[in-house]
Symmetry: C2
Subunit: 173 residues, 2 copies
């Protein structure tokens, strides 16, 4: 088993700065493109990450620590961030950076023993899950969404790359 | 057609800082993992990007400007960087940052008119390609490899995420 809290936190720590470097200087054309109707642009992805900080990861961790695996996690709306599209990309990046920092502080305060990593909660669809699986998923979820933004942005140039299209798997997905 | 030289350069400009934020602070466990035998770890991907700066993008652009589409691009070895694995990640990130900066300067000097973007070269396998397609491909190639690193790193936690595995497409690819 590869899990270590320190290493999982390295992933969680890098994401705000990575996203800032990645999309902070891009023109509107890059930031507004999507993969088609009903899919997210870069800012919607970052709004989704902010929402996860508010309602998903730390709240679920607290729920496991308080309730164990008798009661399932309360439900949340995975698309609620789409109702809150008034911020600019700059504001979204700052908001994400701040709430992530606060949540990493929360994580350090909540988890103080190795034994806590083995505690179990009840996911409404997936059944029994462990604290270390929740934290691992939080980290991989970040990577999923950085991955998504690279793909969304790359697809804008699907036609622009001309004959090279066939070498570039990312725009054919 | 979405192409603009300015916007393509925004993508090319962000990549060194994005990679530095992303992998610059990660432990060896993250940096040495691959997707299995014969696949690349994060540093091999960055070495590949450095190699592209040396032998691919700007050299091909110069070739088009000098030779047009009568002679095909000279061949290069896409795996040559795998023979040069002595540098640390920190050194690789610095080397990439420097050579990319130099190549963006070269690009600005070489392309001074919109008409040059329509000039044609001869790709040995793909046939006729345009300067603007070469530059677009250079940008999308960056995104492809940021995408690849997120996937390589995420897969290290394939088992660690437990039952969440089914929600995380990135680790199942």
């Amino acid at each position: 088993m590869e899990f270590s809290l320190k290493e999982a936190m390295e992933i969680l720590e890098q994401t705000p700065a990575t996203l800032e470097s990645f999309v902070g200087g891009l023109s509107k054309g890059w930031l507004s493109c999507t993969e088609g109707e009903g899919t997210w642009n870069a800012k919607e992805v970052i709004s989704h990450l902010i929402e996860g900080e508010k309602v998903n990861w730390i709240p679920r961790l607290r729920f496991i620590l308080q309730e164990g695996n008798c009661k399932p996690f309360p439900a949340f709306d995975r698309y609620s961030h789409l109702n809150d599209e008034k911020n600019s990309m700059t504001e979204a990046l700052i908001a994400f950076k701040e709430i992530r920092k606060e949540n990493l502080r929360n994580l350090r305060e909540l988890i103080t023993t190795e034994a806590q990593l083995e505690l179990k909660g009840l996911h409404p669809e997936l059944g029994e899950v462990k604290v270390r699986e929740l934290i691992s998923t939080w980290a991989v979820h970040d990577l999923t969404h950085i991955n998504q933004i690279t793909r969304v942005i790359a697809k804008r140039y699907k036609k622009e790359v001309g004959p090279w299209k066939e070498y570039l798997g990312i725009i054919n997905r």
